[in-house]
Amino acid sequence: MTKTVTDVICPFCGTLCDDLEVVVSDDGKELLEVYNACAIGAEKFLHSQAKDRITRPRMRQEDGSWKEISYDEAVDYTAKMLADAKKPLMYGWSSTNCEAQSVGSEIGEAVGAVMDNTATVCHGTSLIAVQDIGIPSCTLGEVKNRADRILFWGCNPAHAHPRHMSRYSIFPRGFFTGKGHTGRKVIVIDPRPTDTASLADVHLQVEQGRDYELLSAFRIAFRGEQLPDVVAGIPKEQIYEAAETLKSGRFVIIFFGMGVTQSLGKNHNIDIAIAVTRDLNEYTKAAIMPMRGHYNVTGSGQVWGWLYGFPYAVDLSRGFARYNPGETTSNDLLRRDEVDAVFVLGSDPGAHFPFSSVKKIYDRPAVAIDPHETPTTEVCNVHVPVAFVGVETGGCAYRMDNVPIETRKVVEPPEGMMTDEEFLKHVLARIKEIKGE
């Protein structure tokens, strides 16, 4: 016998689909089938069942090999490492639930850590831009129900957010959008003719790294001012035409991704894209939204927002919260040798930071909390495997439009395995002991 769990939330990307159906064995110990998920989401659920999964903490030996240790030993090592450090970096916090983020924050306060999440290499520059100019946005349902102009700038949901287009943006039929796809005009701006671009009415193949200039050109076009003949590789006629398409919409939505947050200009690219959105609100209704990557990177920004007032890169070392990307961001801290220990949970900087930063992690005491074996676990002294959030334990997560959704536990974790939250609670308790509280 099997049973089907409905309304399951997918813990992969910021789209946070909540309509998955998962078939599990009657005893709830085995996960058998996943329906409605994209290929990546399905793989995430199914991988939890891998037979070769690591289920106990490991410590690196002198010769480079791993030795299995108990959770107690892992807790003790982690607590001591954090308590001994003058300024530890506690990084990640995106592939986990808000409950774990909350406990992690208490640890951060106790040891004076710098807390940073994956926004630091993802939409951190968007957050800087929002601080400079704000952000007119909406929930994804507004897009589904109202939007008739969809602009994807430097993002490729066909690969990174596979169900985004069908659930929210291009295809769905909503309250005022009964015609679905045919009622919408889709524009893609990207230096490559991506698979998303192939679904669009218009693709502007911008010269890589010149998004700022092109966005600026849109603002000039809105105002009917004169443009140079070519901006960022795009002839002015195409820019005027695209600008008119946007202005003539009833509800414009701009989605943007790493193509602009990680290219030259970074926060400024987002800043001016938001300025474009502000401008459009003079003529019609317009909103803009970052395509957040990890399923709960948004949540960690929210938790730190209400606890400290900053969405990432929060330096707690002096007993209060400070923030300044460029200083308190992980890659700058590592590059400059500002931190003396590294704790990673819910992310894989070993795979996703420039190698020069990865080497700095390798050079320091470091602990990685991750269900998987990853390049990060490869450069850490201790690896603590944990249950998959959203599969083997529940908890709150925030969608890319900041909508909070409670993820579900659908299957039991392997016998004796801790969750992120449980492990962190043990570490916090041990740190309090060490500090004599």
Binding site: C98, G134, P136, G174, F175, K285, Q302
Partner: protein
Amino acid sequence: MAEYLIKNGFVFDPVQGIKGDKTDVAIKDGKIVATTALSSPKVIDAAGKTVMAGGVDVHAHVAGPKVNAGRNFRPEDKLFGYKAQTGIERMQGGFSVPTTIRTGYNYARMGYTTVMEAAMPPLYARHTHEEMRDTPILDQGAYPVFGNNWFVLEYLKNHEIENAAAYIAWLLRATKGYAVKVVNPGGTEAWAWGLNCDNVHDPVPYFDITPAQIIKGLIEANEYLGLPHSMHMHANNLGNPGNYTTTLDSFKLSEGIKPNSKFGRDQVMHHTHVQFHSYGGDSWANVESKAKDIMAYVNSHDNITIDMGQVTLDETTTMTADGPFEHHLTELNHLKWANTDVELETGSGVVPYVYSPSIKVCAIQWAIGLELALLANDPMRVFMTTDHPNAGPFIRYPRIMKWLMSTEAREQQFDAFKHKDKVIDATNLAGIDRELDLYEIAQMTRAGPAKALGLAHMYGGLAPGLEADVAIYDFNPNEPYAPDDIETAFGSAEHLFKTGVQVVRDHEIASNGNKRTLWVNAKVNENPQVMRDVKEKFLRYYTVTLNNYEVTGHYLPNPYVIEVDATQ
């Protein structure tokens, strides 16, 4: 639990009619009790001090998505303003939009123990509850917004009060909400197309309903259910010169409706931050106070309560579910603007704002707020708020007390204005010499809001049986004082008890308290049509499934449920 006896203080308690008499207050098992009920109390000597119930804030934006948007997009609001962790106090930061930890502590430092979050977007209810959970000490509840909700618009278009009521009951349960909040009825839905509803008769695009129908219908639905609080109203046309007529039109929609509530309130409409709704003139050049007209109406209609929305002349962060207003504001001051339209339900905007004493309009706004309170015949129906943080941060309440209690303090402020004479011309305040006393202050900050919330059985006074929320201030009302002494004393309670736990001791935070979240569980007759509509809308238009919508379990670790039976 420890017993306490607070001896010899000057007690101000509107519930018992005690006007500064020396009275002892006894605390046992979290409640106020008769002094005879104590066996071995800890004695607090309050001689020469002022004793009041814990403060009750009827309207503040302290938790939820737009508050956090305000925090996260204003790093400059926290620059150099942090407070390091010490003892039991966790890290605190933020001036106009403090962190949740600082919010709890700062209210407690002022002697407040109950604070209502004024606008909860239902889809973001979980977020709001997470923040309230992490706000120490305070009892809190949150008002879900209804005035632009598609269900409400569709039901009230046809005056289906029973269906609207069933939906309200369902949503209060799903979101763990406390009351029916209305913000710019219809206008925020219109804003989803970049439009607005400018007055109560301006129809909502597509939905074929007017704000007047929404307002009246929600009052009726609220009374159909007999909820503890009345419909809580932020009218159309906020912040615009000449808007007082819209405000009066909105007030009038409550005429002839009687409260149906066993929770002891007398009003059917609470209108919030009325300062923002009391403007005459037709441009910013000739804007003037219409507080007299507004208060003439309020004073003569018992079924209305209001709060001030007092401008405090600070740099602050405005935030409201009135999406079109925030867009209007960013067009005026060119500062950063955040906006979120929420599918089927509501919207919101956030914009920083500097209320400068050098700007005439800001000074006029300051005067109007004070006029509302000083022209009130019944302080039990006019409450002190700053619509935190919209007109200023809540930490300025003691300063507002100073202004209300002292003409000298008001004159000092007038003298500090750059356009003093023009401000005097455009307002009534300079001609008002009323000085409120502490009893009236207690009415406006304790007993009044508690009663209007339908919580007079718990909060707002010091009668035996009430929650033991007691504040002791180092202030002797019977000795001469300078205006600033008021601000100093009431800005830093000497002691504060919250449900019998001492949370402030000698002006310092002594405990993280026993915070509760209040919500209203209204039982109604089964209503298959409404449940069908709910299922249908979730299936077709929402982007979360119905089964993932309801806020449950650990989001409210310490809930306090108020049961209402509206089955009949």
